[in-house]
Structure formats: structure tokens, C-alpha cells
């Protein structure tokens, strides 16, 4: 009982999630700053930002719907933390885990776009409304490539549950005999669809996080600040925190589904019970930081696309790419099976 409570509230629950969220936000800002050849923010910067925003006054514009503007950011944060509870951190199983949880997570991710739309609509401001429209359009367009690429990994591992997908990833891509030799040389071909799918998934994650090149929903200085223009004080703090937690979520989701999360991969270690968890956590951290690095690398190198360019890029390049990946997985499954 005590262990369950500690799990939910401390590690790997809410306290750990918030720490990781702040850490990853700082990490992205620091990597971006270093790639732009400057110093970047200090380590505690996200804590200062949140502390300041939570204490600031709240201002609601004339004729706006204050209750929605106050409620929706809280829903965003709550949903983000709920997604984070599914993420496997030290063992392949997260705190919450059930059959089909991958699709439940996709559903929760799309709630973010919907709440963004409500915030923009409730603020009664042309900038927020156009930002909200853009947010929903981006959300709809990236949802399908992400779902298809996750479904392909599901086909590969024959499961729609994160813990099983994490566990079986190495086994289904590289089936091995008892002595550890790879059975079939053909399985190296699985790396082709895997590369295609992880590229699609990373770009979709960038779209969901509203980073460039898909940052049109809150294009700074172009449509002031997009759908969150009119948020102030604690409301703004909630959306910012939800963004940070989502940064952790999507990196951890890609880590879990495409890189095997806390699994050690091809290395076989025979360890006793607590040490597998420690090693697993270290491997998770390594892979997580790698994904974070790739995200910030793409973020710093690309300019902002226009909204019509985003839509056409997602529908006419990333969706076909993900479908090709799925087709390759199906062909390989048929040959291999």
C-alpha cells in the first residue's frame, strides 16, 4: 500500500514527472542556446518561471469567458500528468498499464488540441482564434501519421500495450536462439521500416509540442502568441507546465515504443532484482536524452513553416511515409512468418 502511494506521488509518479518535465524543458533551452553559440539559462530557470507566473495577477479580457480560460489549462496539465503515468521508466511496465493503452494515450494527446481551441475561442481575440484554428489543424494532421507509425510498431511486436511493445521490441525485431544468436539474417531488414517510422514519429511529436518547424499555432510576434495570447498568471503557468510535461511524455513515448525504453536491448545482463531496475533506469535516461537531443536539433535547425505548408507537409509527405513504413512491416511479417 505504502509502496503504491510512493510510486504514484514520488517515484516514478507526480514528483518525478514534474522534475523530469522541468529538467527536459531546461535541457531543450540549453541545447538550443549552445547550438546557437550562446550561454543559455541556468538550471533552475523553469522553477523560477513557474514560481513567478503562479504568483502573478490574472487578467481576463472584456467579454471573454473567464471560467473556460481558467479551467482548460488545468485540464491540460491534468491530462499531461495522466499520460506521463503510463510511461515506463525503470521497468517495462508503467504505473498504469492495460491492453490498448497506446490508443488511449493518442486520444489523450488530442485532448490538448481541443483544449487549446477552447482557450482561443473563449478569449474573444482575433489572434487567439486564428491560433486556435491552427492548433486544431496541426493536431488533426499529425494525429494520423503518429497513429499509423505506432500501429506499425504494434504489428511488429503483435501487441497494443506499451509494456509488451517495450518488452518484445528486441525479440520481434531480432529473434534469437537460446544461445543468443540471431536466427534469421533477414531480420536486419526490419531496420528500414523502423527508421522511416521513427522519423515520422519524431516529426509528429514536434508538431504536438508546437516547436518549429511546426510552431505556427503560437507563432510568436506573428499572431502575437497564438491561442495562449490572453492567458495570464496561473493560467499561463498551467499551460506552460503542461507543455513541459508533454515534452517529457512524447520523448518517453518514442523512447518506449521505438527504442525499447528501459530494456537493455541486445546486451544480455544477468542481474538480481533491484539492479535490473537501476540499470533499466540508466538505459531509459540515456535513450531519453538521445531523443531530447534529436528534438532540439530539429527545432534549432528549422524555421517556421506557414500553416498551409504544415498541413501539406503532414498530409502529403509524412502520412504516405508512415503508410510505406506500415506496408514494409506487413511484407516483412508475411515473409518472416
Amino acid at each position: 500500500m505504502i509502496i503504491e502511494i510512493v510510486k504514484i506521488f514520488v517515484f516514478p509518479g507526480i514528483a518525478f514527472i514534474l522534475f523530469m518535465a522541468f529538467f527536459s524543458s531546461w535541457m531543450v533551452r540549453k541545447i538550443v542556446a549552445r547550438m546557437e553559440n550562446r550561454v543559455g539559462p541556468p538550471f533552475l530557470q523553469p522553477y523560477y518561471d513557474m514560481g513567478k507566473l503562479l504568483a502573478k495577477q490574472r487578467v481576463y479580457p472584456h467579454e471573454s469567458i473567464a471560467s473556460i480560460m481558467h479551467l482548460m489549462p488545468m485540464i491540460q496539465l491534468g491530462v499531461a500528468i495522466l499520460i506521463a503515468l503510463f510511461m515506463p521508466v525503470y521497468s517495462p511496465k508503467g504505473i498504469l498499464s492495460f491492453d490498448g493503452d497506446v490508443y488511449f494515450i493518442l486520444f489523450l494527446i488530442s485532448i490538448h488540441g481541443a483544449t487549446a481551441y477552447f482557450v482561443g475561442w473563449a478569449s474573444r481575440n482575433p489572434y487567439t482564434i486564428s491560433g486556435a484554428g491552427r492548433a486544431v489543424m496541426t493536431e488533426i494532421s499529425l494525429e494520423i501519421p503518429l497513429a499509423v507509425s505506432i500501429a506499425s510498431m504494434g504489428i511488429m511486436t503483435k501487441s497494443i500495450r506499451i509494456s509488451e511493445m517495450t518488452e518484445k521490441l528486441g525479440i520481434s525485431m531480432f529473434p534469437r536462439t537460446e544461445t543468443g544468436e540471431i536466427v534469421n539474417k533477414l531480420t536486419w531488414l526490419y531496420l528500414i521500416p523502423w527508421t522511416i517510422l521513427i522519423i515520422v514519429a519524431i516529426y509528429s511529436a514536434i508538431g504536438a509540442l508546437e516547436l518549429s518547424p511546426f510552431s505556427a499555432p503560437h507563432a510568436e510576434t506573428e499572431i502575437v502568441h497564438g491561442w495562449s495570447t490572453e492567458l495570464t498568471g496561473a493560467d499561463l503557468a498551467m499551460t506552460e507546465m503542461a507543455d513541459m510535461v508533454n515534452l517529457f511524455n512524447l520523448s518517453a513515448l518514442i523512447t518506449a515504443i521505438f527504442l525499447g525504453g528501459p530494456r537493455t536491448g541486445l546486451i544480455i545482463l544477468n542481474l538480481i532484482e533491484p539492479w535490473t531496475y537501476v540499470i533499466g533506469f540508466l538505459f531509459f535516461l540515456m535513450k531519453f536524452l538521445l531523443v531530447m537531443f534529436i528534438l532540439s536539433y530539429i527545432y534549432v535547425l528549422s524555421g517556421r513553416l506557414r500553416i498551409d505548408q504544415i498541413i501539406s507537409a503532414l498530409w502529403s509527405y509524412f502520412l504516405p511515409l508512415s503508410l510505406i513504413g506500415m506496408l514494409l512491416v506487413l511484407i516483412l511479417e508475411t515473409i518472416g512468418g
Binding site: I31, R34, M35, E36, N37, R38, V39, L301
Partner: protein
């Protein structure tokens, strides 16, 4: 294709930056060296000034204000909150009495801090050359 080449060279630069020392000047601790002939705060040398009013006439912003008490004495006021650092006063002065020095960290929360008032007594000696 050209965009791809640009992308690759940009990514090379980004990775190079990641492992090199940042170009940032850590400002309050270290300073950027000023270029030669930098135009900063105008400063009066009261001993040289003859209250000829030439600088007040050329100053485009009204930053210089001279109140004459009588023929030889007067107050000379410079307000750097108005000054546009154009160096017209230094060029106009025949007596080298006003100079733009390299002082530029002048921010303040009180406008009174920008005003310097000198009491000038004219001693009638004209500078050589």
C-alpha cells in the same frame, strides 16, 4: 537540393557550436572594447568655457541650457536624457570646453540623475592656435 546543402552546412555549424566556447560576452563581469572615437556622454570642462552660447545654438535637441547671470557668470546645464550624442557641440566649440567621453552606462530610475549643472565663471583667456 540547395536547401538540403544549406541544411547540412547549418547542422555542421550547430554541432561545431555545441562543443566550442560561446561567443557571449558575460556582460556585468566583462566588457566589450569600445571602437575608437566612440561618442558617449558629453562633459563640460568649466575652466575653459567662455559662455559664448555657440553650443546651445547648434544643439539639435535642447540638451544644453545656458542661463547667464551676468556677463561673466552663468549656469551651464547638460541633460543627457535629451542628448542624441551627435557631437555637434564638440565640433562647434572653439575653446575645447566640451567633450564626448566614452561613458555610456548611464541608466537610472530618476531623471534628475541625467542633469549635470555647472557654475561657469569666464576668465577671458582665449586658447592658442
Amino acid at each position: 537540393m540547395t536547401s538540403l546543402i544549406g541544411y547540412l552546412s547549418a547542422s555542421k555549424q550547430a554541432l561545431k557550436n555545441l562543443f566550442s566556447k560561446p561567443v557571449t560576452v558575460m556582460f556585468p563581469a566583462e566588457h566589450v572594447s569600445l571602437p575608437k572615437g566612440y561618442r558617449g556622454t558629453p562633459v563640460l570642462i568649466p575652466e575653459k568655457c567662455t559662455l559664448c552660447m555657440k553650443c546651445e545654438r547648434v544643439c539639435p535637441t535642447g540638451a544644453i541650457l545656458i542661463e547667464k547671470l551676468d556677463k561673466k557668470n552663468g549656469y551651464f546645464t547638460i541633460d543627457i536624457g535629451k542628448c542624441c550624442y551627435c557631437q555637434e557641440c564638440e565640433k562647434a566649440c572653439n575653446f575645447d570646453a566640451i567633450h564626448l567621453i566614452d561613458k555610456w552606462l548611464t541608466a537610472s530610475d530618476n531623471k534628475e540623475d541625467f542633469v549635470t549643472k555647472h557654475f561657469v565663471q569666464r576668465n577671458g583667456k582665449k586658447k592658442e592656435e
